[in-house]
């Protein structure tokens, strides 16, 4: 763990992170109740310094600036001016670190294509850890204060704990200030029921991340890095596995983060609600990365006019929201295309009415939605837009389902004869996880404590015996 801190890979290891979270949680409860907020502040600062000490100044500066702007907004008549003054530096920092290189490259490519020559601007910067998350948290806070949804924060320590909360800094969720403030005002105490829920979430997250996501990453990387050297069947498998990997990686981390928040006494927003059991794309976006999609809905889509406008304007609002959603995930044409793809699908999907549907209809809808989402992930995972289209083309051209294709499609798992066992194991765990998700989705009453404990034991034992704990980074930490 110490070596990881020095070589800058500390935040990439699931085990190191869980260990760090557990130590902080234990020390948190040793600290007197009155000093817990200050303890959290120190823990957040230390945690960020351990993960990305070079970029700490950016987080600190933005925190102080948005705190001051929030305060001025509360006291000043020119509220709009304070809002703009608060948001612009945050957006500029986000744009500068994340998108400046991409825009320079795009301008260069366009100029070269027209034979005009190239510009000198090719600056590529290191992206500060969690900038996409804490920027959105700060912007949300400023807009809410502007709209007088709640009073501005007067204690900078409380605000700093909110912007830099150590469990949320790497991969979210994008917490809202009012929810966070409620937990702080309730006294930061141990809440047994919440802690129990948190423990369950940590185990589930560990299972999703270590047993499924990490286990799939090698296969997915091998096939996506050189799709031309693998049979079409392998490309289908890799697309399916990437969809599962991305969900288990991101939702797994979210579960761990929410779980530790619960252990610390914070009731945090749920980030995923079984998204692959969605009946259509609209349903999918109400279950996938909920903290981001609800943020975009509340602060962007509604600000643009939302549903209260003409059909054409509504469609435009949806497209803008999804294009920005795509860009939030990464600086690249493939991310922009992915956002547009979901935007179009969203516009085309009719609003579902509450109606009892047959099992066959539900099954078909779920499968169809999954396949549509899976094709979207190909753009998301590929290194460029061109590679993604080539990948999809190769999925269909020369498709074969014979003995050789099957063997050559399974082989990338380990490269030797253990590939069959590896493939079957991961399929088995995906199946068990699917059963768990289906049961959770259908559940109307709280689970019996014995069933709950059985699942917890299963998650923990599986994570220890079948978990892969290499230094594989959290996919969503890159956004």
């Amino acid at each position: 763990m110490i070596a990881q801190i020095f070589d800058g890979t500390f935040q990439n290891s699931t085990l190191s992170l869980i260990l760090a979270f557990a130590v902080i949680t234990a020390l948190y409860y040793v600290t007197p109740k009155k000093r817990r907020l200050y303890f959290l502040f120190c823990a957040n600062v230390l945690f960020y310094l351990l993960c990305d000490y070079k970029m700490f100044a950016i987080l600190a500066a933005e925190t102080v600036w948005t705190f001051l702007c929030g305060g001025w907004m509360g006291r000043n008549k020119n509220r709009k001016g304070c809002l703009i003054a608060g948001i612009i530096p945050v957006i500029m920092a986000l744009f500068g670190f994340k998108y400046f290189g991409f825009f320079c490259e795009s301008i260069n490519s366009a100029l070269t294509a027209f034979g005009i020559g190239t510009t000198e601007m090719t600056l590529k910067l290191l992206i500060p850890l969690g900038i996409s998350y804490y920027s959105f948290r700060m912007i949300g806070y400023l807009i809410d204060v502007y709209k007088q949804k709640y009073e501005h924060e007067t204690n900078i320590i409380t605000y700093a704990v909110f912007t830099s909360f150590f469990v949320h800094i790497i991969s979210g969720p994008i917490e809202r200030y009012d929810r966070f403030r409620k937990s702080v005002s309730e006294g930061l105490t141990f809440r047994s029921e919440l802690a129990q829920k948190g423990f369950q979430r940590i185990l589930l997250g560990l299972f999703m991340k270590a047993v499924i996501a990490n286990r799939l990453s090698g296969y997915v990387n091998t096939v996506f890095d050189s799709p031309g050297t693998h049979p079409s069947l392998a490309l289908w498998l890799a697309a399916f596995f990437y969809s599962v990997q991305l969900y288990c990686d991101f939702a797994g981390y979210s579960e761990i983060a929410v779980g530790f928040s619960n252990l610390l006494g914070f009731d945090t927003i749920e980030n995923f609600r079984r998204p692959y059991l969605s009946m259509n794309i609209r349903d999918f976006w109400s279950r996938w990365h909920i903290s981001l999609s609800s943020w975009l809905r509340d602060y962007l889509y509604i600000s643009l006019g939302g549903n209260h406008c003409s059909k054409l304007r509504r469609a435009l609002n949806v497209m803008v929201t999804f294009l920005i959603c795509g860009m939030w995930h990464g600086a690249g044409w493939n991310f922009l295309f992915w956002g547009g793809y979901h935007g179009v699908l969203n516009i085309l999907t009719p609003k579902e009415r509450e109606k009892k549907r047959s099992f066959i209809y539900q099954l078909f809808s779920v499968l169809f939605t999954f396949v549509v989402v899976m094709f979207g992930w190909i753009f998301f995972r590929s290194s460029s837009l061109g590679t993604a289209f080539l990948y999809i083309k190769r999925m269909f051209v020369g498709f074969a389902f014979d003995r050789n294709s099957i063997i050559n499609s399974i082989m990338p798992f380990t490269g030797d004869n253990t590939c069959v066992a590896f493939f079957l194991t991961v399929c088995l765990f995906i199946l068990i996880f699917l059963i768990f998700e289906l049961l959770e989705d259908k559940r109307r009453k709280p689970q019996k404590s014995l069933t709950l404990s059985a699942w917890q034991v299963f998650f923990l034992v599986s994570a220890v015996l079948f978990g892969v704990f290499g230094a594989s980074s959290f996919i969503y930490a890159n956004f």
């Binding site: 129990q196 423990f199 004869n417 253990t418 069959v420 079957l424 088995l428 404990s453 034991v457 079948f466």
Partner: protein, 320 residues
């Protein structure tokens, strides 16, 4: 809090029970397998044993060698098998009463320079608890094994095989005969092979690996086993690689000093001829077209065509 404690305790009990259950339930299941050590121990005797890494597994068909003779042949291979591990495997077999008449060891230059490590978990699957303890001791003394490696060896190694045994084992076993892989592998083009990088992290001989090399020689002398080191063909890019040539030269010098027989490619032999102190009688050579890309699936592993060509050439030399 109480329930959290119960969950942790129940999980610990299950994990502790899992380790011996896995070990004992798998221990005799591989006695009739077409690969691994259990089969050798259960047979108790072998005329010609080939021991090596995936280079041997992919590139050597011992059944071609065995076809022209009534002697029994077997290939024992583990991924990245290195002298340190090969010595411990040989000792394990001898201690369990396996009578070996001739031993042919994979002579792959880079394994003599590599750091001591457990490169294949399957070694733990094939052996007993005592061997596992000795192996860990050796790895921690000669290599960098720590708690993580111990946990992997004792708890997580081969869990996938254990879990999927009824399905995966018959499938895997059907792809072996006497330890040799029967799976077909298509060769590549020169363009693809030349674009592949050579992964070498170590450029000097590793003291522990060299010591283990001498241990193999010593074990063979003590147990009256005829010992031959065999170099499997590598693609021209590797053969021409300076590090490979330097290590091979040192490898051959070490073996020659101990009067150990070698079988090498004609290209490697020409490198050896540049040296002053030559013991030509110890070395046999075979011709192999290392520039023929269809013989290789990557820079070091042979394709089916390459495997057949090499096995036929080696069979002829051994029978001579």
């Amino acid at each position: 809090m109480k329930r959290i404690l119960y969950v942790v305790l129940a999980s610990l009990v299950l994990i502790c029970a899992f380790v011996p259950v896995k070990k004992f339930s798998l221990s005799h299941r591989m006695d009739n397998a077409e690969f691994g050590m259990s089969r050798l121990i259960s047979d108790g005797e072998i005329d010609r044993l080939f021991i090596g890494s995936s280079i041997f597994r992919q590139g050597l068909d011992v059944n071609i060698i065995g076809a022209n003779t009534s002697r029994s042949v077997y290939l024992l291979s583990y991924n990245g098998n290195q002298p340190c591990l090969e010595a411990s495997e040989l000792r394990y077999l001898i201690e369990r009463g396996v009578n070996i008449k001739e031993l042919y060891v994979d002579m792959y230059a880079y394994t003599l320079a590599t750091e001591v490590s457990l490169s294949d978990d399957r070694l733990v699957l094939d052996t007993d608890f005592k061997y596992m303890a000795e192996l860990y001791k050796m790895l921690s003394e000669k290599g960098k094994a720590g708690i993580k490696e111990l946990f992997e060896m004792a708890v997580t190694a081969n869990n996938e095989l254990f879990l999927t045994w009824p399905l995966s084992y018959p499938l895997v076993n059907s792809r072996y005969r006497n330890g040799s892989s029967t799976a077909g592998n298509v060769g590549k083009t020169a363009e693809i092979l030349n674009s592949l990088p050579i992964y070498t992290r170590f450029f000097n001989l590793n003291f522990e690996q060299v010591t283990s090399l001498f241990e193999i020689i010593q074990l063979c002398r003590e147990n009256n086993i005829k010992l031959v080191f065999v170099e499997a063909p590598k693609y021209l890019k590797i053969v021409k690689n300076k590090t490979y040539r330097v290590i091979m030269k040192e490898y051959m010098t070490l073996l020659a000093a101990e009067n150990v027989q070698m079988i090498v490619t004609d290209q490697t032999f020409s490198t050896y001829l540049e040296m002053k102190d030559t013991k030509l009688s110890l070395i046999k050579t075979y011709e192999f077209d290392s520039s023929n890309a269809t013989y290789f699936q990557d820079l070091i592993h042979l394709s089916t065509a390459g495997r057949e060509a090499f096995s036929a050439a080696l069979s002829e030399l051994i029978e001579k």
